[in-house]
């Protein structure tokens, strides 16, 4: 692409952004000549340049838009439709520009639709009664190119002439002499004072790389200065001075100022990130039929351009969110006694070393009750937990992935995508988001972000003799710990915790996580706990020593090391040493997964309930024999009450006519016989053609509750016991009863020989817990994982399995993804796979066949599962030999 075109693209892009903003302002204030003049001039410039560069599509579009705007200037009333039309013309221009940037040529196609509409509107304009005195538009810039023209380049004078000569709508009334005045310094688009517009300061374009390089050099200078100061100090204490002192002080001073100056070059007003917002809000008002005012304050607050890039999209999303969810329709607003027009207020200001951005709307506010309900439904928190939470904490659920309480999903938002991304992006740069909301009064989001990413305050700590930096923003407090003191690290089953203000704080022994030599040997309970909070989790990082805080220049991690989640970057300290910067987010993630791994290891020995998982299950509670019993409702086909007189007895077995077939009945408790008279309550389980009825004393209730099962090994009729609704309840093992009803549902005999291992993957702990005992009963060792990623992590960590049983339908990576990943790996490529799916579609069956899935088994068909496992015992032997 030649330079001229590149220059044109950059420049035009900027112009269009300004026109966008100005048009929205103009729509609200149609009598403002200055704004109109500004827009007109920019569009005219675009048109002229396009003509010169030979871009006919762009030129024609710009020309038509200019014509219509010319009519505005001549007194045509400014309507919303007209502005919308011009805005969509600008969008088309942007599309073409994007294509131009990609291919260096205008894309094929025509714009007759837009041009036609623009012309119709322009023609419909009444002729201006009095031709207004011609205002001079545009000026000539006096520009000198300080080198001879390269071949193919054109002098600016020629360019200028070209667009003066390009046909424009003002030609009919333009004065004969298009050059109004001799050249004079370029009058930049400075709106008159008091306009409140976007002030342009005199600037030059500098390549970002140049600035980055400057930054590096200054950092180096600072380091060198520090070394010099150190030498001077030593000499001084040795008695000599050497005449260094004064010039060194001067050098020190200049360096500091230089550093500050270079930092400033990276700063940009936050207004640049806001430029698109008025347009966004305007379009949304139209789409949602709401009246919304966007008020922006503090647009000139400066922050690092890197930070600016990161927050640009989150801000846009939050504004959309406020407009869609926050602001009510005019009707609702009137009913609530509020002005029809809603207001979204965007405010930015400096506060200490951070910048605060507030996004406030005066809309309906968050419905905390709905959020609590939704959080409970989605199993994000238990009932009791939710009751303990304050509104501010509850509000944070809206940042959960896929969380949306919007009743209707609109095109704008409500799909639950976005707010979690917003939060992640902001936290990525060490920022925080807070929500304050009042029902009916509105919601305010407060974002706090560091001014710059390049320099942050960091706490320097030591771990096993190595120094690390922890960003100060992440540090809530520091606690000194020593065995025997008030603050001592205690252990729960080997896991370190700290009692801090009546709460237990999980402690991460960072030396161990880092795998530093000597970490295992040292007692590790003496040192400092750096208390930090990630999301809603608060935890402490145990380090050996704490030095001081230091302003550090953050340097990115080498691409070869970026996969280590524990570090966000590195830096050079004052003494010249390279130090790694710890990332509390990464530590939380890594520790989280490690906990998961430990748990999995434990499950290998004996399947343990995943007690920290707040999953709820819908359970059917009934009475059968002594005490309450429960069975997951998902396993139950129907609940029936039958006349005991209809029960037929054959060979001591009870049968009942049910839906045209004979269904065997089995008593839930052998001690309580099936009734011979009156009504008998039965719970029907079915599997394809076969069905059985479990005769129970009484159906008690259907409840939704967390299921923490205490497993029992010595009884086959129950999986274990659990506390449901505060009462001890036995969870029934349906697999026990099925063979009692049908012989061919026979329980497979226990296999002799060495135990084989099966890897069970299901996102629901409940099914893992239910299926694992079945497989163990069939002589398998069970390794279970709650997600495809967890399973793959297990495989990667060296776990060996003779078969894989996986749910196909899991959130995140599906079972198919898992199988594909296994097939692609070296070790697990030949592991036999059984897929759990209740009703596989033909596509799924085909896909499974291609991936070499051994069998499909319905999720509740446990005998089928055991049979399928028994069948693959043969090939599993081969896999075993291969892995060994």
């Amino acid at each position: 692409m030649d330079d001229l075109l590149r220059e044109f693209l950059t420049e035009t892009g900027e112009h269009l952004d300004v026109v966008d903003v100005e048009l929205v302002r103009f729509e609200r204030d149609p009598n403002n000549e200055t704004i109109l003049r500004n827009i007109f001039r920019l569009v005219h410039t675009i048109k002229g340049t396009c003509g010169f560069l030979g871009l006919p599509r762009l030129e024609a579009l710009a020309h038509a838009a200019e014509t219509l705007m010319g009519k505005f200037r001549d007194g045509l009333p400014v309507t919303t439709d007209a502005v919308t039309l011009i805005l969509s013309t600008l969008d088309r221009i942007k599309q073409i520009l994007a294509e131009l940037e990609r291919t260096a040529a205008e894309p094929e196609g025509g714009d007759a639709d837009l041009i036609g509409n623009l012309e119709t509107l322009a023609l419909a304009a009444p002729a201006p009664a009095v031709p207004e005195p011609q205002v001079t538009i545009g000026t000539l810039a006096y520009q000198v190119l300080e080198r001879p023209l390269k071949p193919g380049e054109t002098s600016l004078d020629d360019l200028e002439r070209a667009f003066r000569e390009a046909p424009g709508p003002e030609l009919e009334s333009a004065p004969a002499d298009p050059v109004p005045e001799p050249a004079k310094p370029e009058a930049k688009s400075e709106p008159e004072p008091g306009e409140g517009g976007f002030t342009k300061i005199q600037t030059i374009r500098v390549n970002v790389d140049t600035l980055e390089h400057l930054m590096t050099m200054v950092s180096e200078l600072v380091l060198t200065r520090n070394q010099l100061l150190e030498i001077a100090r030593r000499q001084e204490s040795g008695g000599g001075d050497g005449g260094f002192k004064v010039p060194l002080q001067r050098l020190s001073h200049v360096t500091a100022e230089l550093q500050e100056g270079v930092m400033k070059t990276r700063m940009q007003p936050i207004g640049t990130a806001w430029q698109k917002l008025p347009r966004v809000v305007r379009d949304l008002s139209g789409e949602l039929a709401k009246k919304i005012d966007l008020v922006m304050q503090g647009a000139d607050t400066e922050l690092d351009r890197q930070v600016l890039e990161v927050i640009k999209d989150p801000l846009t999303h939050m504004i959309r969110n406020s407009a869609d969810h926050g602001i009510e329709t005019p009707l609702e607003r009137r009913a609530a006694g509020k002005p029809e027009k809603g207001t979204i207020r965007l405010n930015a200001y400096h506060e200490g070393g951070t910048i605060t951005i507030e996004i406030a709307d005066d809309g309906r506010g968050l419905d905390f009750a709905a959020i609590r309900r939704k959080a409970r439904e989605r199993g994000l928190a238990g009932e009791a937990e939710l009751e303990r939470m304050g509104d501010a904490q509850v509000a944070k659920f809206i940042f959960h992935p896929g969380f949306s309480t919007a009743k209707a999903i609109t095109a704008v938002s409500g799909r639950g995508v976005g707010m979690d991304v917003v939060k992640t992006n902001i936290e990525l740069i060490g920022g925080t988001v807070d929500i304050a909301s009042e029902l009916g009064r509105g919601t305010t989001f407060t974002i706090k972000i560091p001014l710059t990413l390049a320099i942050v305050a960091a706490l320097i700590v030591s771990v096993e003799g190595q120094r690390f930096a922890i960003p100060q923003v992440a540090v809530l407090e520091l606690v000194r710990v020593r065995p025997g003191s008030d603050h001592a690290v205690e252990r729960i089953n080997g896991t370190p915790v700290l009692r801090l203000r009546e709460r237990l704080l999980p402690i991460v022994p960072i030396a161990r996580v880092l795998g530093l030599p000597g970490a295992e040997a040292s007692a590790g309970d003496e040192g400092f706990v750096v208390v930090t909070e990630v999301g809603r989790r608060r935890f402490g990082i145990l380090v050996d020593g704490v030095f001081h805080t230091e302003e550090i220049v953050v340097k990115p991690m080498s691409s070869k090391l970026r996969h280590i989640p524990l570090f966000s970057g590195n830096t050079i300290l004052g003494d010249g040493a390279v130090v790694l910067i710890m990332d509390p987010n990464g530590i939380a993630r890594m520790v989280g997964s490690e906990e998961g791994r430990d748990q999995l290891m434990a499950e290998e020995a004996a399947v343990e309930p995943a007690s920290d998982k707040a999953e709820t299950e819908t359970l059917l509670i009934f009475r059968g024999g002594a005490g309450l019993k429960a069975v997951p409702l998902s396993l139950v086909t129907r609940l029936e009450e039958i006349d005991a007189g209809k029960i037929e007895w054959a060979g001591g077995r009870a049968l009942v006519q049910y839906r045209g077939r004979l269904m065997p009945l089995v008593p839930a408790d052998p001690a309580v016989p099936i009734r011979r008279e009156g009504l008998q309550a039965i719970v029907v389980f079915s599997d394809g053609e076969r069905a059985m009825g479990l005769a129970v004393d009484e159906i008690v209730d259907i409840v939704e509750d967390r299921l923490d099962v205490e497993f029992t090994a010595d009884r086959s009729d129950v999986v274990g016991s659990a506390v449901i609704r505060g009462r001890a309840t036995e969870v029934v093992n349906v697999a026990h009863y099925l063979p009692l009803a049908h012989e061919d549902w026979a329980r497979p005999a226990r296999r002799a020989g060495p135990a084989r291992t099966v890897l069970l993957v299901d996102d629901k702990p409940f099914f893992r817990e239910l299926l694992a005992p079945v497989m163990k009963a069939a002589g398998w060792r069970v390794l279970s994982a709650g997600s495809a990623d967890e399973a793959l992590a297990l495989v990667a960590s060296g776990a060996r399995a003779d078969a894989v049983v996986t749910d196909l339908d899991m959130p995140g990576r599906s079972g198919f993804d898992l199988i594909e990943a296994l097939r692609a790996s070296a070790r697990a490529a030949h592991w036999p796979v059984i897929a759990l799916s209740s009703a596989p579609t033909p596509e799924a069956v085909e896909r499974a066949r291609r991936l070499g899935v051994a069998e499909f088994v319905a999720k509740f068909d446990r005998s089928g599962l055991v049979a399928a496992l028994a069948e693959i015992q043969g090939p599993a032997g081969q896999a075993l030999g291969e892995a060994a």
Partner: protein
């Protein structure tokens, strides 16, 4: 990084032109690195180890204000580490906009070698070595292996797959 003047008239590697190599030794074997890829020779000191890093990366160091990732050529070639105390020399290389220091046992002179001593990599060379070599030069009494700098530094994918 791409050179600014991509349309420079003469490209590199004219078949008949002699090529210049910075020679280094690792375990008594001589290696050559194309001189235009080497921008620095320095002593690697005060290395900061990076926990959980791939084995080839021995640490980070500060080279005049730049953070340099130190890669051990011995480990890259599958050779054992040297005994402690040996002075580590490093060759500074830029690769995809990042600075690396390749740790070697020693750095020798710059050799100007004619293409007539050049041969492709012998077919039976150890796979690990062959993957990192571009070719060899037959010199008087020794063999110089021309290192493929990009291949030497392309180990992240392997490391993660393993």
């Amino acid at each position: 990084m791409t050179p600014a003047n991509a349309n420079a008239p003469e490209g590199r590697a004219h078949a008949a032109e002699p090529e210049e190599y910075v020679t280094v030794t690792v375990a008594d074997q001589m290696f050559g690195l194309a001189i235009d890829r080497v921008h620095d020779i320095f002593i690697a000191s005060s290395l900061t180890a990076v926990p959980l890093a791939p084995r080839e990366i021995v640490g980070l160091l500060n080279l005049r204000g730049r953070v340099v990732t130190a890669v051990c050529l011995r480990r890259r070639l599958g050779l054992p580490d040297r005994e402690d105390g040996a002075r580590e020399m490093a060759v500074g290389i830029d690769h995809q906009g990042e600075s690396y220091g390749l740790l070697v046992d020693g750095v020798g002179e710059v050799l100007k070698l004619n293409p007539d001593t050049y041969e492709p990599v012998p077919a039976h060379l150890d796979g690990r070595w062959a993957a990192l070599a571009q070719g060899v030069h037959r010199l008087d009494g020794r063999i110089l292996i021309v290192l493929d700098v990009d291949a030497v530094l392309a180990f992240d994918a392997e490391a993660r797959a393993a």
